[in-house]
């Protein structure tokens, strides 16, 4: 892990790859996101945690160039940007791996790998090169496909995520936005995806890892941004927070207490309620001292 320590050292001098300052987004009268400040540097993983509807998608869309923030600023490598399309963000090295939108299921793996960045000889596709490269890049990520000609829809969810990640890495992404890459995966496949998150970091990429699972976020993350109902409810460096505190904040301590009260009223659920109360106590949930800055 020495390389991580070094790269963290480096980025303290350099500009962060991406910095949002007090960014917000309104859709008409709906405030989807307000006053978000976050950054990610080279060789760092910033985790964005939040439950459904917390504003994670809106945040991704701003960073990926699909939307512009309606307030605050968005800087890439120190200069303010106003992306009008994902293509512009891509050109600055900001690649997004969406949960469902990463690939075209009916197309072969290699065509998906190079989609939008096709290698060509003149106007012809350089098919042998693309097949070979695709196979090699996937092998380097530890995926050994029998046949890169099979439709990508026939791969498992984890494998598809990994194809999308290795594709972004191969095409020189500086910042990788991963939208809930482990959401639909089993334990083992999630582990595989997390391994690639770490590999991407080791290669010096900045990674924005969106998830609602603190157990996935904590081992790989350097920073943690917690969202709830469109607001930041905490922004921590890794050494400022423990895994249990993170879990507690994510679960929403007060909501858990409320739930335990409700369950106590139901006969037969008293045992569960007691366990919940114990859990809450164990996690050391309290509201003071959780909001850095």
């Amino acid at each position: 892990m020495t390389s991580t320590a070094e790269s963290t050292q480096d980025t303290q001098n350099a500009q962060p790859l991406i910095r949002l300052s007090h960014a917000g987004k309104r859709y008409g009268t709906i405030i989807a996101l307000s006053d978000i400040t976050m950054e990610v540097g080279a060789g760092e993983v910033t985790c964005v945690l939040g439950d459904n509807g917390a504003g994670k998608s809106t945040l991704i869309k701003i960073i990926a160039g699909l939307h512009q923030p309606s307030s605050g600023t968005y800087e890439v490598e120190g200069t303010e940007v106003h992306f009008s399309s994902p293509r512009e963000a891509l050109e600055r090295g900001i690649a997004t791996v969406y949960q469902d939108l990463a690939v075209v299921p009916l197309m072969p793996v290699w065509r998906n790998f190079f989609l939008g960045n096709e290698a060509r000889k003149g106007i012809r596709l350089d098919i042998p090169f693309m097949k070979k490269t695709c196979k090699e890049e996937l092998a380097a990520m530890g995926i050994d496909l029998r046949d890169v000609d099979q439709p990508i829809g026939t791969l498992s969810g984890g494998e598809r995520q990994c194809v999308a990640i290795s594709r972004a890495v191969y095409f020189g992404a500086k910042v990788l936005i991963l939208d809930e890459p482990t959401a639909a995966l089993g334990v083992k496949q999630s582990g595989v995806v997390l391994k690639y998150v770490i590999q991407a970091r080791e290669r010096g990429l900045g990674v924005i890892f969106i998830t609602h699972n603190p157990h996935h976020a904590y081992p790989v993350g350097d920073r943690f941004l917690l969202l709830n109902r469109g607001r930041g409810i905490g922004y921590f460096e890794k050494d400022q927070i423990t895994r249990d505190e993170l879990t507690g904040l994510m679960a929403g301590g007060s909501e858990l207490e409320q739930l335990s009260h409700e369950l106590q009223g139901v006969s037969g659920a008293a045992g569960i309620a007691e366990e919940l109360v114990e859990d809450v106590a164990e996690l050391g949930l309290s509201k003071e001292g959780r909001h850095s800055q």
């Binding site: 939108l101 075209v104 197309m107 012809r124 791969l155």
Partner: protein, 352 residues
């Protein structure tokens, strides 16, 4: 158009190392168009047995000719469907283009090539308009082109009536440039005693070009991607709107080409022609393995679909059947081909 039966919407089941490889035969059968090829062979053998004239090379040349007059349009329609869109205006667009060239040249007494070029511009513009409306409004292309279909049909009839006081365009064979245009669009030549009409050659060339574009160029990759998942395609930087508009314009281009053949073959154009052909194009493409939902199909398969239509069209004549039964048999045989196609593909996808 609600025939979703042949579209395997559910993705193939997940695979892992515990699943064996498919055999080579199953893989071949899983390709788009293989079912259509099997259907074409069955239909060919069927007419070969029951209709004696069908066995002659000259008859097959006319089967190919009929096929090519539809097939020229089937190729771009197949690309458009792979790109995830429909064009119901394609049938009457052929007539519109031919009328445009004919009426313009005749009324202004220009060289016919001027009319031909004006018609090209108009056909591309109609394609652009279809594509632009679909892309901008996100209204299903089925509805947008249904609208343009009726508009073009009305324009064909009304403008021809207004300008010529007749239901057909005037004979343009006396105009300057006619013979050279006829050479390009509607000539024929003889090989080994068999008369070959030039559209057959154009059709084969365009099918090969369409196949090459689909499988060997970046454009083809993008066509598959916008039809397979427009959102994914957009996310990786494929210009989805430009691709779709381009595909509609390709349909316009071939509508112009087909219209020019019809015009220089017959010298005059009936203003009511072309209605119903849009379904022939779509059916041929679907029989040839194109998914109604987009993202899957082949130009060669669609060409085989057109061939099935051509064989049935002519085979019924050669078999000496009552032509009143024509559309019934066309429908029956096409339905059979679709079922066979679907059956084979499902078998191939399910088998190990």
């Amino acid at each position: 158009m609600a025939q979703t039966a042949e579209a395997p919407v559910t993705p193939p089941p997940m695979q892992d190392e515990r699943v064996g490889r498919k055999s080579g035969l199953a893989r071949m059968l899983a390709r788009p168009g293989t079912g259509a090829l099997a259907g074409a062979i069955v239909i060919y053998v069927f007419f070969f047995i029951i209709a004696t004239p069908f066995r002659y090379a000259s008859s097959f040349s006319s089967v190919l000719y009929v096929t090519s007059t539809y097939g020229l349009m089937v190729s771009p329609i197949a690309l458009l469907m792979i790109g995830g869109e429909f064009d119901l205006s394609a049938g009457v667009a052929v007539t519109s283009s031919a009328l445009m060239a004919s009426l313009f040249s005749y009324e202004f007494t220009t060289n016919v090539w001027v009319g031909v070029l004006i018609a090209l511009v108009m056909s591309l513009a109609v394609g652009f308009a279809n594509g632009w409306i679909v892309v901008k409004t996100r209204i299903p292309s089925f509805l947008v082109t249904l609208g343009t279909f009726f508009m073009l049909q009305g324009l064909n009839l009304a403008l021809t009536q207004t300008i010529t006081n007749q239901v057909a365009s005037p004979d343009i064979s006396t105009l300057q440039g006619f013979s050279s245009a006829q050479k390009v669009f509607a000539s024929s030549f003889t090989i080994g005693g068999v008369n070959i009409r030039i559209p057959i050659i154009y059709w084969i060339v365009f099918v090969l070009i369409a196949t090459w574009i689909l499988l060997r160029t970046r454009t083809g990759n993008w066509i598959f991607s916008v039809g397979g998942s427009a959102e994914s395609a957009r996310a990786v930087g494929v210009p989805v709107a430009r691709m779709k508009i381009g595909l509609f314009m390709a349909v316009g281009l071939m509508a112009w080409f087909t219209g020019m053949h019809t015009l220089f073959q017959f010298n005059t154009i009936q203003s009511g022609e072309g209605v119903g052909n849009e379904f022939v194009y779509i059916i041929a493409a679907v029989v040839g393995g194109c998914l109604l939902t987009g993202g899957y199909g082949s130009a060669v398969g669609a060409a085989v679909g057109a061939l099935i239509f051509g064989m049935v069209n002519q085979g019924i004549v050669y078999a000496g059947w009552d032509p009143d039964w024509f559309t019934f048999f066309v429908g029956l045989l096409l339905l059979g081909a679709i079922l066979l196609n679907t059956f084979i593909r499902r078998r191939a996808e399910a088998s190990i």
